[in-house]
């Protein structure tokens, strides 16, 4: 038998793992169905009710009755559990891997104690419309956490209602629209200015809210020049919507001049703080003069990402804009917490209730476990980790870190494999598929690819030096393979749950299938 311990360490350094993703060949759940199986029984209707109402559906007119039962699968309970446990094993959660390859997503550790707190019955079993005196605990947490965000941002008021980052940005957009409308300039101020490195949904949210979008491109420093901004600003400018640092990790030192330029033209400035992890306690929205901002509690503030939500996109504003915040706002009179709906200029409700309370509980607990010094440690270590990773990554053949050669980076870097692609023909996306063979994620960039053959890494504060080294070793191995054994990369993945996926049906209306029933119909037609 091979001695894996000898394989694992060579010259004191960790070797790559012999990873293989779980491969259960798990059928689609409908294929496991057997008529008559039950996985859970529904509470029976009491005999006393049955005596009076023998058939609850009797009052329904025929046309409102379901004609055929839904063709849901029929399974026993242990089969359902095994099915989902297998699917979970075929999913690479952040709990399992050195999760630094999904840059921009701030894949930090989500403390388990916070999950336990967020799922207590005092959170889970609380109805949102209970009388205020019965929900003082959760209102207190919402209030306290808004106070924390006020201090972290320097802004004056927060709403925790938006259900993730993009709708937090949309809330910014709706507030900006309301502000200009109230000043009688709603028709005139119909443009926003953003940057090509900003999240693509930022531009989309503002477009949905009725704005035209002007997009600035980076100069040699990695961010747009002040001249470019000045050329774009006009009396039509409703707002500047900007991230700093952007996904390059380069901090734009001229940000206050950017803000001033837009303010001078009558516009507002909205700060997308998706990349706040490296600047907690270092610099704030208020110092740069921003009017609004947005934080992702599921990123910077550690709440788990849940395969893509539930989440919170906290929206912060200055005193001047507080009147426009979504209703209700949690208020505190020194004794009692209450929900304030009496806000006539509010943009209204963004969601049905008050946002995703368990996410706020987690974020609150996370900040309380760290305090001011701990948050600063988060920023310092995430930036240290990033600059350490940058140094190691740049030693890899074929890779570069475009822009700002002499500058430090904040919490992430957008790298480029342009040279590797030129020299080997292997594309960044292919490197990512191969990297998955070693049990890690890897991500290119948002579209469009401004940086050629991009790769975005964000190490956060949650990984040890040895884990960063391991990730670099994987990248080095994969890059070397591109030069020495490109066929191995072309044929990847080798260790994943499934083999190379044929994506063509996904863009073909005659073949695509978003449900099992559609798939069955289309496949049987093909077979026929």
């Amino acid at each position: 038998m091979r001695d894996i311990t000898k394989q694992r360490y060579t010259g004191g350094k960790a070797n790559l793992r012999r990873f293989h993703q779980a491969r259960w060949d798990e059928p689609i759940i409908f294929e496991l169905s057997r008529p008559g199986q039950r996985a859970i029984l529904v509470p029976e209707v009491d005999a006393g009710i049955r005596r009076e109402v023998s058939d609850g559906t009797a009052a329904l007119p025929a046309r409102m009755r379901r004609k055929e039962p839904p063709r849901l699968p029929e399974l026993s309970q242990p089969q359902v559990l095994r099915h989902y446990d297998r699917l979970s094993q075929e999913t690479l959660g952040a709990d399992l891997n050195i999760e630094i390859g999904q840059g921009t997503c701030t894949m930090k550790y989500s403390p388990k104690v916070n999950d336990q707190l967020a799922t207590l019955p005092q959170v889970a079993e609380v109805h949102p419309l209970q009388p205020e005196e019965t929900v003082q605990g959760i209102l207190e947490i919402l209030y306290r956490f808004a106070e924390i965000l006020k201090e972290i941002s320097g802004l004056d008021h927060f709403s925790l209602q938006p259900g993730a980052g993009s709708v937090g940005i949309y809330t910014n957009a709706a507030i900006i629209r309301a502000y200009h409308r109230l000043r009688g300039q709603g028709d005139q101020c119909d443009e926003i200015i953003t940057t090509i490195f900003s999240h693509p949904s930022n531009a989309a949210c503002f477009k949905t809210a009725g704005f035209k979008v002007v997009t600035l491109h980076p100069g040699e420093d990695g961010y747009p020049g002040l001249d470019a901004l000045k050329a774009a600003v006009s009396e039509r400018t409703a707002a500047l919507v900007i991230t700093n640092p952007e996904d390059t990790g380069i901090y734009n030192p001229h940000i206050r001049e950017f803000v001033r330029t837009v303010h001078d033209a009558g516009g507002l400035c909205s700060y997308d703080q998706a990349n706040a992890n490296g600047i907690l306690g270092i610099t704030r929205a208020s110092e740069a003069g921003f009017d609004l901002c947005q934080f992702n509690l599921h990123k910077t503030f550690s709440s788990p990402h849940g395969c893509g939500g539930p989440a919170v996109g906290a929206c912060g504003v200055t005193q001047e804009l507080a009147r426009f915040l979504p209703v209700p706002v949690v208020a505190f009179d020194g004794r009692r917490y209450r929900l304030d709906y009496d806000r006539p200029d509010s943009i209204g409700k963004i969601g049905p209730f008050f946002g995703v309370a368990p996410v706020v509980v987690r974020a609150y607990a996370w900040v309380m476990s760290l305090g001011a010094k701990g948050l600063r440690e988060v920023a310092e270590i995430s930036v240290l980790n990033n600059n350490y990773l940058l140094k190691k990554m740049k030693e890899i053949r074929g890779l570069s870190a475009p822009y700002a050669k002499r500058q430090r980076r904040i919490e992430q870097v957008r790298y480029s494999w342009e040279r590797l692609t030129r020299e080997t023909g292997i594309r960044s996306e292919q490197l990512g598929v191969r990297a998955a063979d070693f049990g890690v994620h890897y991500w290119t960039s948002h579209h469009p690819f401004v940086v050629p053959e991009p790769c975005t890494l964000e190490p956060t504060e949650s990984y040890s030096r040895e884990e960063l080294d391991e990730y670099v070793a994987i990248m080095r191995h994969v890059a070397e393979e591109a030069y020495t054994d490109p066929e191995r990369i072309h044929a990847a993945p080798h260790n994943s749950t499934v083999h190379t996926i044929d994506h063509t049906p996904l863009d073909d209306p005659t073949q695509w299938a978003m449900t099992w029933r559609a798939y069955g119909r289309k496949v049987s037609r093909e077979d026929g």
Binding site: T57, G93, P121, V123, A204, T208, Y251, G351, G371, R408
Partner: protein, 465 residues
């Protein structure tokens, strides 16, 4: 005095001083301060954040947060009849078991090779919802039912190239407000009244308002006020006669018994999956679905991600991926359809677990049992002196209106006295629907026993006396 020892933070591996020092040397920095050299001095915060003292031990943290939360009372402490968009259903143990697994809980946006299971679980969620809804296309969940409805109407406007939407006024006022706000830049929203006796949408008013400008006709079924709109087929026929899209928001927990809206002509069906395995969470268990037929002109207007099944290089193996990704804002920025981003995927997986557990039989029993209980409740509440229930003469599903006008009492006052008896009375409707006088919206689900309902009736009896 000994120096203050640096804290080694359990969540921050490299906070060990030696490790930190070694890494700083490696990057050629004297201190972490060097790493922030590009942030100008005038933007630096040169003081500690003014935050509460940290609770460094896990024990102290737990005790602190539990202490605050102990000031909450939950629906386990009270007998609750609150609904209005968030209902207390039984959450099967497996729903929590699956959505608390670290693999699902902490995954995010990985590709279909690393996250095959996530793609399959969400494809299966959409597939089971598709069966329940009798629709072929279901999205990866959006934030909540409000967003689902608002987006459905924007989709209808894009599909038809028209700019007017007609909404039934018996809908959730908060949701109608959200639709209005969301559609404002591009779509004019008009309300259509309802019959004061039956609650049904006013078909004459609808016919008079419909025109070649109408993009969408929207109603909720069951309605916000609990009654079932039984003329869905006529509404959709009218809408279609003018080339408009029929959009219906539905409570998925009703569909074991109620006809899916597609069967009476709905083109886009939306709603909230909170009833399907999500705890109430003070409103944090909401997630929105949107469903359509498998027609390209509908599919291409979804802003959401749509996961599709695809072959792999190995015969018989299932792969997954994004369908028509090029329509999204991820691909096209502001030229995409509305926007897409993180929303409520974990609740989609959970609803999938719920539907797999319940099966066709479970969903039928659930809906019938709720209807039986709510009919019993309406009948007995109506016997309380001066109380009218329901206000509308129509079949109801799980919610219904209770009017107190003839008791001379206000809902707020009655609810206060019910609370003293350990009961959370129905939502006060007097602000949202002043025309209903002092009315409350009560919600009955499968969690309510006959004893619970009788207890409510007895308490109401005492309170309105």
């Amino acid at each position: 005095m000994s120096e203050e020892r640096p804290v080694v933070y359990p969540y921050i591996p490299n906070s060990v001083p030696d490790v930190k020092a070694g890494m700083l040397r490696e990057v050629g920095a004297q201190s972490t301060e060097d790493l922030f050299q590009d942030i100008p001095e005038h933007l630096r915060l040169r003081r500690d954040l003014d935050l509460p003292e940290p609770l460094l031990s896990e024990y102290a943290l737990r005790r602190h947060v539990e202490g605050i939360l102990s000031r909450n009372r939950s629906c386990k402490d009270y007998l609750s009849f609150l609904g209005a968009g968030c209902a207390q259903h039984y959450v099967p143990a497996l729903c929590d078991e699956v959505n608390r697994r670290g693999e699902f809980l902490t995954a995010y946006a990985g590709g279909p090779y690393e996250d095959h299971g996530r793609f399959q679980a969400l494809f299966e969620y959409a597939s089971m919802m598709g069966e329940l809804l009798n629709m072929d296309v279901v999205n990866v969940p959006t934030y909540d039912g409000f967003q689902a409805a608002a987006t459905s109407i924007r989709m209808a406007a894009r599909i038809t190239g028209r700019r007017e939407a007609l909404l039934c006024r018996a809908g959730n006022p908060g949701k109608l407000g959200r639709i209005r706000e969301y559609c404002r830049p591009d779509i004019e929203v008009r309300l259509v009244g309802y019959d004061p006796i039956s609650g049904q949408m006013d078909l004459e008013a609808l016919a008079a308002t419909l025109s070649g400008r109408t993009a969408a006709v929207y109603f909720e079924n069951p309605s916000y006020l609990g009654f079932i709109e039984t003329h869905g087929d006529e509404v959709s026929r009218l809408a279609h006669a003018y080339g408009a899209v029929c959009v219906v928001s539905v409570d998925p927990s009703s569909l074991g018994v109620l006809a899916p809206p597609a069967d009476y002509g709905a083109d886009i069906v939306c709603g909230d999956i909170q009833p399907l395995g999500m705890h109430m969470q003070f409103g944090g268990g909401q997630a929105g679905f949107i469903a359509t037929r498998d027609e390209e002109r509908y599919v291409m207007e979804f802003p959401s991600r749509l996961f599709g099944i695809a072959p792999t290089s190995v015969s018989g193996e299932y792969g997954f991926g994004d369908v028509a990704y090029e329509r999204t804002s991820f691909a096209l920025r502001e030229k995409g359809k509305e926007w897409v981003g993180t929303a409520a995927a974990l609740w989609g997986i959970t609803a999938g677990v719920y539907l797999a557990l319940m099966g066709p039989q479970g969903m039928a029993e659930l809906a019938e049992g709720i209807m039986a209980r709510s009919q019993y409740a309406m009948a007995h509440i109506a016997r309380v002196c001066g109380v009218r229930a329901p206000v509308f003469q129509a079949p109801h599903f799980k919610e219904f209106t209770v009017n107190l006008d003839r008791t001379g009492k206000r809902v707020a006052e009655v609810n206060r006295q019910l609370l003293e008896r350990g009961i959370l009375g129905g939502k006060d409707l007097s602000q949202e629907f002043p025309e209903l006088g002092q009315s409350a919206l009560y919600c009955i689900t499968e969690v309510h026993t006959r004893g619970d309902i009788d207890g409510l009736v007895d308490a109401l009896q005492e309170v309105v006396k």
